[in-house]
Symmetry: C2
Subunit: 418 residues, 2 copies
């Protein structure tokens, strides 16, 4: 088993070197072939999905999976259209590979270039939603990365069918490397995947807290994503009551299970309209928990933790201690306080007078979203296609050696070009 997986990972790594040199044209052709294949085979995909749904129905009855997991599993005409549209949208995005990030003449005839390139091999582990396969495959192809995908066991029939449609489309795309997209299926495969730090360069988990935490704790491969989304809103002394009400209600009720929903509201003790604010939240059917057991709580429903604080500094300290580093917002009419908050809060997103729900790659205008990262290195916040690239340095010369520079025979002049 272990040797089989290592061989598979080795082959995907080899394919990744071929992926790295594909032209934008060929990549877009592959994507359009996939979009067409999904459309043409939608009945087969619905059929496979029906099988998964039947099996899942029993699991729901037995309490093994939740109704919301069941709902996310279901593909319908709308979701299918979104899948196809999603691939077509990625075709339209700029190629993130081959961008010149720096061009510098180190000395005459000695040219340093820093150019974006794919990371290599991505390992994607996702749950329930089978539409993730087409989205993540399209993002991987556009960024010239190879990918090993592992979907949830609930959607195994749907995933297999979609993947066979994708493979057929790629085979039709002349020049597209074999083994660049591979699907695996078992728990044991996940365990093997997390060990392949020689061949897999980045793991992207798409799923609940538990999945992400498990992955982060069990691999040495860099993981892009976030486990918790414990977002805060601080209502300052000078907050506008209407803004405060609207923003908190939006951040809690517009999509309560989203990672960028607010979980804790801190209110300045000197804020004059405390009662009006609380009444508005109650009217919006939000349950307010004063003095919760755990300030790290992510409710995922219309509940929030609530606390009065005596100062901006106390709010900042509370947030830096309990936040998951995702997104926080201050409601204030005091611009200086907003500035201090935005500088001192150490989270991927720090907002002034807007809802935390804006933390999203599409809302930021990235055109696609790989995921939202709470990491402090590589990529932070909503991650677009660029997050799937790194860079390499090339030097073009005509025989230069370091000895000449070390001995002072030649000097670097470091002129940036273009």
């Amino acid at each position: 088993m272990e040797d089989n997986f290592t061989k598979l990972a080795y082959n995907v790594k080899a394919a990744s070197k071929e992926m790295a040199v594909l032209t934008e044209e060929l990549k877009n052709k592959a994507l359009l072939n996939i979009a067409q294949g999904i459309s043409a085979n939608k009945e087969k995909i619905f059929e496979a999905n029906k099988k998964d749904l039947e099996e899942a129905k029993t699991l729901v009855e037995q309490g093994e999976i939740s109704q919301s997991t069941f709902n996310r599993l279901k593909l319908d005409e709308n979701k299918m259209r979104d899948m196809v549209q999603g691939i077509q949208d990625i075709v339209k995005l700029d190629d993130p590979v081959g961008k010149i990030l720096l061009k510098r003449e180190l000395d005459e005839g000695l040219i340093l270039t820093k150019k974006s390139c794919p990371i290599g091999v991505l390992g994607i582990i996702f749950e329930a939603r089978p539409d993730v396969i087409t989205q993540i495959s399209a993002l991987a192809i556009k960024s010239s990365n190879a990918v090993i995908l592992k979907g949830g066991k609930e959607s195994v029939n749907t995933n297999k069918m979609i993947m066979s449609v994708i493979q057929e489309a790629l085979q039709k795309t002349e020049g597209f490397p074999e083994n660049a997209l591979v699907q695996v299926f078992t728990r044991e495969d996940v365990a093997q995947m997390l060990k392949q730090d020689k061949y897999i360069d980045l793991i992207i988990p798409r799923g609940g807290n538990k999945l992400v935490k498990f992955i982060k704790e069990n691999t040495k491969i860099p993981v892009l994503g976030h486990a918790d989304g414990i977002c805060h809103i601080f209502v300052d002394e000078t907050a506008d009551i209407e803004k405060a009400k609207n923003i908190i209600i939006d951040a809690k009720t517009q999509y309560p299970s989203a990672c960028n929903s607010v979980e804790t509201v801190l209110v300045h003790n000197n804020f004059g309209k405390k009662e009006e604010l609380i009444q508005a939240l109650v009217d919006a059917e939000i349950e307010i928990i004063f003095a919760p057991d755990d300030w790290h709580k992510e409710y995922g429903e219309k509940k929030l933790s609530f606390k009065y604080v005596n100062s901006l500094e106390e709010a900042i300290e509370h947030i830096n201690e309990y936040s998951s580093g995702h997104t926080e917002s201050i409601i204030t009419e005091n611009k200086n306080n907003a500035k201090i908050f935005m500088n001192k809060i150490d989270s991927a997103g720090v907002y002034h007078n807007v809802s935390t729900r804006f933390a999203d790659g599409f809302r930021y205008g990235f055109g696609a979203e790989v995921g939202i990262s709470t990491n402090k290195t590589h990529a932070r916040g909503p991650v677009g296609l660029d997050g799937l690239t790194i860079y390499k340095y090339t030097i073009e010369g005509n025989g230069q050696i370091v000895k000449d520079y070390a001995e002072g025979i030649k000097q670097f002049h470091h002129k940036d070009l273009g």
Copy 2:
């Protein structure tokens, strides 16, 4: 012990939030105070260094440490001048924090800004060379990061003395936070450090392969650096013999123990001047190993592995299999082959007709070097000050909520500003 270290790490994390908001002026003042302090206290530092050297002499005699470790330990007037100059050079560099990387109007009055910020807390583990302390402390201060430093046990007296001079200089700098630079001393401290993924954001090891490998295998914190430096040179069919000779001799002999020295030379079977090339290497006192036991071998002395290959493709495959992803060079007059090599080789540096020894932050014109990374995420190749930063997103608004956009009442227009 464990609780003590966690408390220390917590305090450094708290100090990192203060570091994040320091002005460039204050940071430069702190750096100049340190430079002045080192100059003013050089006799005390020499004295502490003498103590270390005496103890180390015994260790050399007992075969516990090598002569070269001993040499790196020794501070003299030249090294002291370089230390001070190094700090002054960092003062002159642009502040890497607070750079606007993107400014976008999402909708009227809704402004997204992506701004560079410090990573947070760095953990630096280094061996022997005590001059690393001032360099890494200066880089951390300039990039607004807090840092926990652990030096080699051989230089403990020198490290303590330098650190006390640094602390005195920082105390003199009004407004500089306490606990932002902390030194620890024991092996047990290192073990504790590697566990603090809650408080330490990035580990930077500065030392030999063994140290770096040990660290990478024993922490979940991201590690910036490289273990091996197995660099390759491929002499293509159409290589210019003079360039081939000069470049290989430079890459092997100019500083044989450097990580960017060449370890393996691959030569195209159709290259017409094989004997002349080999003779030149022998004349330069380079030992040539045909058919080594292990193509992963990093010699660190005037030895190299040598192999004939039948094609450019074979060379690329060999390199992608055995390279450590540091730096490789092709010697060829065929521009198309150079292009293929540079595209398909998956290393941080890929060169054409130049020595691998150019892989260096100062030679690249970065003004400072944090280290050389063979990672595929965050920072790759020689890493300058920018590698110690990440970014955060801020949004400034006046009450906007997501519901309005989800329901089509408002639309994003995504206009890039400035």
